[in-house]
Each structure stands twice: as structure tokens, then as C-alpha cells.
Amino acid sequence: MKRHQIEERFFKALMIASMVVVLGSLALILGTIVWRGLSALNLAMLTQTPKGGYYLGKEGGILNAIVGSLYLAGGATALALVASLPIAVYLNSYAGRSRYAELARLALDVLWGVPSIVYGAFGFIIMLWLGIRASLLGGIIALALLELPIMARGMDEAIAMVPLALKEASYALGATRLETALKVVLRQTGPALVTATLLAFGRGIGDTASVLFTAGFTDRLPDSLFDPAASLPLAIFFQLNTPFPAVQERAYASALVLMLIVLGLGLISRQRSGRLAKHLIR
């Protein structure tokens, strides 16, 4: 065999190996969660809040954490979306490749890399300063800060891919930058914007450290933005930390619920963005 053929095969084998590692890890994680948690998963777990002694193995469920997580991540994603979309549109349609825009992108990249416990601690300090205690609102704000760079940069990259000729087609009809951004660019990037939003939501709903101090934890459902709120990652943590195997199984079941929420949302949005995609210009 010639040298370049050996090279070709070697790198092909490496690629296949890396794919096996990635897919294998995913299968292993899913398998473990399903295997350890499925037996503990039942309707009561999804529909009840923890009763007294739940963490000792008595009855109850994790409705508090499911609802809390949906509120937290939903609110944070909505908040991050409100900020990210204008940032991404502005960076592309107005700021272009100016130094200011590059600085803004650098800042977002740095923020992306900031560990979530830092957002949690930062949020906590601000809450202390303002005299707010751990609450749904505090958690939403801290999570929104965590999600913002992920969403904004994802949208920025998507919008940057829009061909200049498409924007020019709109400009040539006498459209302003704003009209072009809202009516052409956002339509063209619709599916990618949904993906960026979902990526941020997934990161938000799975994050533990940023909600630890800011949202707190409670066995009750939050009645208002100023009540503390439970979350699935923390519920998993607390249940896994008990010495009782039955409660630990519930932790895996909770993890399964978390995975199913993220997965289900992914599937729904994929189907939705397929409907958006039919108008896309390639």
C-alpha cells in the first residue's frame, strides 16, 4: 500500500473512532439514566410536590422542581431572547465588522466561557445589595445572564451567514436596514434562531450553580416571582446525596425527566422550523 493510502485509512479510522466515542458516550449516559431511573418514574412523581419525608423515601414527587425549572429556564430564555435578537441584528445590519462590533463579539465570547457559579455569585451579591432574597426572579436573571452570550453569539453567527446579495435585493427595492433585517434576514435565519434559542434553553434548564444561591430551593410551587423556586438539577443533587437507594433512584428518574423535556422541546422545534425552512433561499 502506498503512503498516501495508509494516511487516508489512518485518518478515516480516527474519524470513525471519534464518532464511536461521541455516540457511545451519549448512549451510555442515556442508558444509565433509563436503567437506574425508569423503575422509580411514576405519575405521582410528576404530579406531586414532595411530602414530609420524601427525601427519606416516603411519598411525593418532584413537581416543584419540574415547574420551577420550566419557569426559571422559560423566563430566562424569554429574557435572553429579548436582549439577544436586537444584539445579533445590530451587530450584523448596522455595526458590520467595525472595531466596536468585534469588541462586542469578544465580550460575548468571554462571557460564554464564564463558569456558571460566577453568574450565581454575581447575582447573589446584587440580590444582597438590593435586599432581595432567593427567588424565581433572581434565578431568572442569573440564568438569563448565563444564556445571553450563548444565544446572542449563536444568532450572530447565523445572521452573518445571510448572503449580502439577499440583503442587497431588499435594499435595491428601497427597503431600509430595519425593514430588511425584520422582514428578510429574520425569515431567512428563522430555523437557526430557533436552534440558538433552544441551545440556550437547554443550557439554562440544566444549570445548577447559577440557581443555587439566586433561586434557592423549596418543596412548594412558587406563587409569585418573589418566591423561591426549586429546579431539577438541584433536586437531582439533593436526592442523589441521600444515603437511601430508593431516593437515589428517584434522582435518576428526575434526570430522565430533565432529558425528556430538553429532547421533547428539541423535536417540537425541529418540526416547527422545518415549516419555516421551506421559504429559505439557498
Binding site: 465588522r97 439577499l166 435585493a169 431588499s170 435594499y171 435595491a172 427595492l173 428601497g174 431600509t176 421559504h279
Partner: protein, 251 residues
């Protein structure tokens, strides 16, 4: 006759490189004016100056004046969207907007404030007919424009440009991405439209210029060599470079 467009001392730089040098000429009202010349001579740059789309290019500098109906479009008080409403463009490669066939044609009229449904319906039909596309898309106006063939897409882009009712239509190598039959249909529509509109076509195809042009503008390496009625330039060019280019000796 008063010219529709008058270009005066137009210079364009991309960064340090000068793309157009002291261009001065007139484009008469109605009829087809073809801008010809070899690749890289500044044809497209010149065309994009006529509706200020050139300003979308990065690091570009433009000096000089372009008068459309006597008003300088580079004047500071001029609204660029108003310029582009009066001077439309048909690009080389069709880029439909990411929406339905109907919405593509209605896009321009809608952003310019014409919103009445019935009125828009008539407008869409009229301009799809003017672009010779109506019979092929009637009945599926709500289908995505991206599903049309390239030739149909280019005619849709023509209809879309016409729907804004520009006085001048700029065409940048409008048939370069098309098969010969689609190209012929575009040419036929331009011939029909020239009765009521001023059309400026950039082309590197001499045969196309021969078929379409009432007037010619010849560019060579960023300079304007010669312009005037097409028949005159084809039969008796004044400049040696024009003669050589039209004869196929250079470029």
C-alpha cells in the same frame, strides 16, 4: 432631449485602488443603454453607483455626482431609499426573498406603504404579467419562491423590481446565470419595457449588446472611452480601443 441620468466626474475607490476614473456621460430617457467592456473594467461598479447600492460595499469611496431627473442622488439631503425606489435593480443571480411568490412581488409596494389587499392583488398580477411569469405561477402564488426554477426566479426578481414602479431599471448581467431560452425571455421583456422605462444593462456579451442596445457606453480599465447611439458606435467607433473591442481584437 434631456437625459434621464447624467453622471459627472464620478470616481470610485475600493480601498487604495481606483475602480472608476472621472466618468462623465448621459443616459437618455427610455430605451436601453448597454454598458460594455471587458471583465474588471468597472461596469458593475458604475451600475451600482446609479442607485447607491455601491455604498453597501465595505471600504468604498465615491466622489462626483449622479443626477437622476436633474437631482443629484449623492446630495446629502437625498434619502437613499427614495433613490432606490426610483432606480430599480435586477441582479445577475436571482435572489428571491425568503417568502412566497406573491409576497416577493408585494414586498416593495408594502414597504412603501401600499397596503390595501385588493389593490396589491391587482398589482401583483400586473407585474407578474409584465415579467411574463403570470401564466406559470397563477394558482400557486402562495408557494415558496425558492421552489421556482432559476429562469422563473429571475423573472420573479424582474416582477419584484417592477412592482416598485421605478423610472429606471438597472440590469447587471441579467441573463448570465440563465439558460439560453430563459435568457431570451428576459431579453424580450426588457425590449417590451423600454417603451416606458429607462433601462441600463451591463453585459459582457457583445451579441447581447447588439440585440438590445439603443445606446452604448464603453468602459476600459475604469475609464469611459466612448458613449453614444449604439448603431453609430458599432458602425463608426471614434476611438481605436472601441473599434478593437467591438471587432473582437481585444478584451
Amino acid at each position: 432631449m434631456k437625459p434621464q441620468i447624467h453622471v459627472q466626474d464620478l470616481n470610485v475607490w475600493y480601498g487604495q485602488q481606483q475602480a472608476l476614473k472621472n466618468i462623465t456621460f448621459d443616459i437618455p430617457a427610455r430605451g436601453i443603454t448597454a454598458i460594455i467592456g471587458p471583465s474588471g473594467c468597472g461596469k458593475t461598479t458604475l451600475l451600482r453607483c446609479l442607485n447607491r447600492l455601491i455604498e453597501e460595499t465595505e471600504e468604498v469611496r465615491v466622489t462626483g455626482q449622479v443626477f437622476v431627473d436633474g437631482a443629484d442622488i449623492y446630495n446629502r439631503s437625498t434619502d437613499v431609499t427614495e433613490v432606490r425606489t426610483r432606480v430599480g435593480l435586477l441582479a445577475p443571480k436571482p435572489f428571491p426573498l425568503p417568502m412566497s411568490i406573491y409576497d416577493n412581488v408585494a414586498y416593495g409596494p408594502r414597504i412603501h406603504g401600499r397596503r390595501k389587499g385588493e389593490h396589491i392583488d391587482q398589482l401583483v398580477e400586473r407585474h407578474l404579467r409584465a415579467a411574463d411569469l403570470w401564466d406559470e405561477v397563477n394558482g400557486r402564488l402562495r408557494a415558496p419562491a425558492s421552489r421556482l426554477s432559476t429562469g422563473q426566479q429571475q423573472r420573479l426578481c424582474l416582477a419584484r423590481a417592477l412592482a416598485v414602479e421605478p423610472e429606471v431599471l438597472l440590469c447587471d448581467e441579467p441573463t448570465s446565470a440563465l439558460d439560453p431560452i430563459s435568457a431570451q425571455r428576459i431579453e424580450a421583456q426588457l425590449q417590451a419595457l423600454k417603451e416606458e422605462r429607462t433601462i441600463v444593462v451591463v453585459t459582457h456579451l457583445l451579441r447581447q449588446a447588439r440585440r438590445l442596445a439603443d445606446d452604448l457606453v464603453f468602459l476600459w480599465l475604469g475609464e469611459l472611452v466612448e458613449y453614444g447611439p449604439a448603431a453609430k458606435m458599432f458602425s463608426a467607433p471614434k476611438d481605436e480601443r472601441t473599434r478593437a473591442y467591438l471587432a473582437g481584437d481585444i478584451g
